[in-house]
C-alpha cells in the first residue's frame, strides 16, 4: 500500500479540526435557512399548524403577493430610510468619538471609552423605555430642553414626521460605541512615523486626517460599514418597544412586517418570504459596497 500523500492527510486533519464548527454552523445555520426557504414556498399558516395536511406548495406566490402589498413597500421604504440616514450618522459618531479618545491631549481615556461603550452593553428594551420617557411630548427631558431654547414641543413618537428621526437618534446612541472600539484599535495601529512625516511636510490636522488616518483605516471602515448596515437593515426592537410600528406605519420595518406576518397572523410562509427578501437585499447592498469600497479585512 502506498503511503498517503502528506498533503491529503493535512487536508483531512484540517477538516477534522474544523468539523465541530462546521457541524454547528451546518445544523444551526444552513439547515434552518434552507428550511425557512422551503417554508417560504408554501402557504404554512394557522390552518396548517392545526393539521399539516393542509400545507400546500405554492411556488413563488408568497413573493409575488408581497411585491403587490403596499405595506411591504412602506416597510421597505422606512427600512431604507433608516439605513441611508442612520448608518452614515452612526459611523460618523463612532469615528468622531474614536478620534477624540485617541488624541494625545485627552486624559482618562479608559474612562471615556468605557463610558461610551456602556450603551452597547445595556439591554435594548430597558434603554428604549428610558428613551421613551426622554422623548415624551409633555414630560420628556428633550422637549424640556427644546422649550428652554424657545422651540415648541415636538410629538416625537406620535407624529409620523418625527418618529423615524427619533428612532434613528436612539439607534445611533445605542450602537456607536461598538464601532468606536473597532476604529480605536485601527487608529492606534497606525505607525506614528506616518504622522511625523506628514507634519514635516507641513500637513495640517485636517490634511493629516484625510491623507494619513482615513487611508490607513479604510479597510476597517469598510468592514464596520458592512456590519453596521447589515445590522441596521434588521431594524426591529427599537420600533417594537417605542412605537409598535406606528404612527401611521411610519416606523414599520421589514423585519417588523415579518414579525407581524409570522407571529401575529401566523402566516409563516409569507413571513419566511419577507425574511428572504430582506436577506437578498442586504446581500446585494453588501456586494455593491465591496465593489465600490477598498478591500476590507474580511
Amino acid at each position: 500500500m502506498r503511503p498517503r500523500r502528506p498533503q491529503s492527510i493535512a487536508r483531512l486533519s484540517g477538516w477534522w479540526f474544523a468539523a465541530p464548527a462546521v457541524t454547528l454552523i451546518g445544523v444551526f445555520f444552513f439547515v434552518p435557512v434552507l428550511a425557512s426557504f422551503g417554508l417560504s414556498l408554501t402557504d404554512f399558516d394557522i390552518y396548517a399548524l392545526a393539521d399539516v395536511h393542509r400545507l400546500r406548495f405554492v411556488g413563488w406566490q408568497n413573493y409575488r403577493e408581497l411585491m403587490a402589498t403596499p405595506l411591504f413597500w412602506q416597510a421597505f421604504k422606512n427600512t431604507l430610510w433608516f439605513v441611508v440616514v442612520g448608518v452614515p450618522l452612526s459611523l460618523a459618531a463612532s469615528l468622531l468619538m474614536a478620534l477624540l479618545v485617541t488624541t494625545s491631549w485627552v486624559r482618562f481615556k479608559g474612562l471615556w471609552r468605557s463610558a461610551m461603550f456602556i450603551p452597547v452593553v445595556t439591554t435594548l428594551v430597558g434603554s428604549a423605555l428610558v428613551f421613551r420617557y426622554l422623548l415624551h411630548t409633555r414630560y420628556g427631558l428633550i422637549n424640556y430642553a427644546l422649550h428652554t431654547l424657545g422651540v415648541s414641543a415636538v410629538d416625537w413618537l406620535g407624529d409620523p414626521h418625527y418618529s423615524m428621526p427619533a428612532i434613528i437618534v436612539f439607534a445611533i446612541w445605542k450602537n456607536f460605541g461598538y464601532n468606536m472600539i473597532i476604529l480605536i484599535a485601527a487608529i492606534e495601529a497606525i505607525p506614528s512615523e506616518l504622522y511625523e512625516a506628514a507634519l514635516l511636510d507641513g500637513a495640517n490636522a485636517w490634511q493629516r486626517f484625510c491623507f494619513v488616518t482615513v487611508p490607513a483605516i479604510a479597510p476597517t471602515l469598510t468592514f464596520v460599514t458592512i456590519l453596521t448596515m447589515a445590522g441596521y437593515f434588521q431594524l426591529f426592537t427599537e420600533p417594537y418597544v417605542m412605537t409598535q410600528g406606528g404612527p401611521a406605519q411610519s416606523t414599520m420595518s421589514v423585519l417588523y412586517l415579518m414579525y407581524d406576518e409570522g407571529f401575529k397572523w401566523w402566516n409563516l410562509g409569507r413571513a419566511s418570504a419577507v425574511a428572504f427578501v430582506l436577506f437578498v437585499v442586504t446581500y446585494l447592498v453588501t456586494l455593491l459596497q465591496r465593489r465600490l469600497a477598498p478591500e476590507a479585512e474580511l
Binding site: 399548524l49 410629538d155 407624529d159 409598535q244 404612527p247
Partner: protein, 421 residues
Amino acid sequence: MTRVLRLFALCVLSLLLGCDAHRSVTVLRFWAIGREGEVLAQLLAPFSAAHPEIEIKIEQLPWTGAHAKLLTAVAGDATPDLCQLGNTWVPELVALKALQPVDEWVRHSTIIDRSDYFDGIWATSQMRGQSYAIPWYVDTRLLFYRKDILRQAGFNRPPVDWVEWRTQMRAIQRLSPDKTALFLPLNEFEPMVALGLQFDTPLIDEAQARALFQSADFTTAMRFYIGLFAEGLSTKMTDQQISNVWTEFGRGYFAFYISGPWNITEFKKRLPASVQGQWATAPLPGPHGPGASIAGGSSLAIFKASAHPREAWMVVEYLSTPNVQERFHELTGDLPPRRSTWNLPAIAQDEYAQAFKDQLERVKPTPRIPEWEQIATELRVFAEHVVLGDYSMEEGLARLNESANRMLHKRRALIEAGEAL
C-alpha cells in the same frame, strides 16, 4: 383565649401538613392578561382556601404580547390548563384545535346557566354549534356624550337613531365651528365594525368564506361614517394627535365619543370636577332606532392538552358565580356577562353602566374566523385613505373587499375541499 387559638392553629397546620403528605396537589396553570391578571389572585383566594387540593399558578401576560404567546404556546405544546382569551381570539384557537368544548359541562352545571348570559356575548365563543369558552366579562362600544353641550344645542336626550344623531351633531357643530361634534379616531376600526354590524347583511357570508364589504348594507354604513368626516362633524385625526381623550372631552372639544366600559372608570377619575355630572352614556344609535354594537370582552377557556380539565372547570365555574363577578366588577370595573349579576347592588347602582346593560341585549359577535383581526386592520387602512381623499368610497370598498377575500383564500380552498372549519 390566645392559647386556644394557638392550639387551634397548630391543629389546622398539622392537618394541612398531614394532607399534603397523603394527597397529591393538582397544579393548574392559569394565564391571565393585563389588569384582570393582576386581580385574579385576590379574586381566587376564597376558592383556594376552600380547595387546598388545587394549586392555581397564575401567570400574567401583557395585552400586547399575549396573543403571540398563546399561538406560540400552541405550536410548542406548552399551553396552560386554562386561560383568559380575548373573544376575537377564540376562532383562531378553535382553528388550531387547541380548546376543549364545554357544552357537556355547561349542560350539567348548576352554576353556569346559558339563558342567564347575553345572547350576543355567548355567541362569540360558539363555532359550528359548539361552545369553546365561557364569557368572563363583556366589552362593547357605545356613546359617551356631554349632557351640557347637548342641552346648549337644544336637546335634552341622547340620539336614538342616525338621523337624530346627525341632526344633533350638526346643531353642536353650528354652536362652535372650531370644535368637533364627534371624535372618531382614524386609527380605530371598532366604530366602523359596530356600525357595520347594525345591519342584517353580515360582514362575512354564511359559509364564512367570502367578505361582503360591497353589500348595500355595509355601503350604507360606510356612507354614514365617511359622511361624518366629509361634513366636518368629525375631524380627521388619530387619537395620537389630541393631547388625550380625557382632557379634550373635559374641555368639550368634542361632545360625542364612541368607547367602551373602561372609560367609565377613567372619566370618573380624570375628568375635572366641573364636568362630573355633565357626561353620560347612551346606547349606540342605529339606522332605525337603537342599534347593535360589538360583542367584545374576554372569555375563560380550557385547553385540550390540560391534564386536569375537571379542576379547571371548577375554577371557571367559581369565576362565573354572580357574587364573584360582582367582586370582579368592583376590582376592575369590568362588566359582567350574566343578567343576574347586573341585578346585584354594586352594578345596579352604577348609572353609567346602565346604558351598557341596555346595549348588551343588542350586541353581535364580529365574524368568527381566524382571519378577522387581520381583515379589521385593513378596514382601518381603508377608512384612512378614503377620509384623506386618496380614493372614493366605492373604490375603497372594492379594494377592501378584494384584500379581505385574498386573506380568506386559504379558508375558501379548505371549505371547498370539504373541510369543516
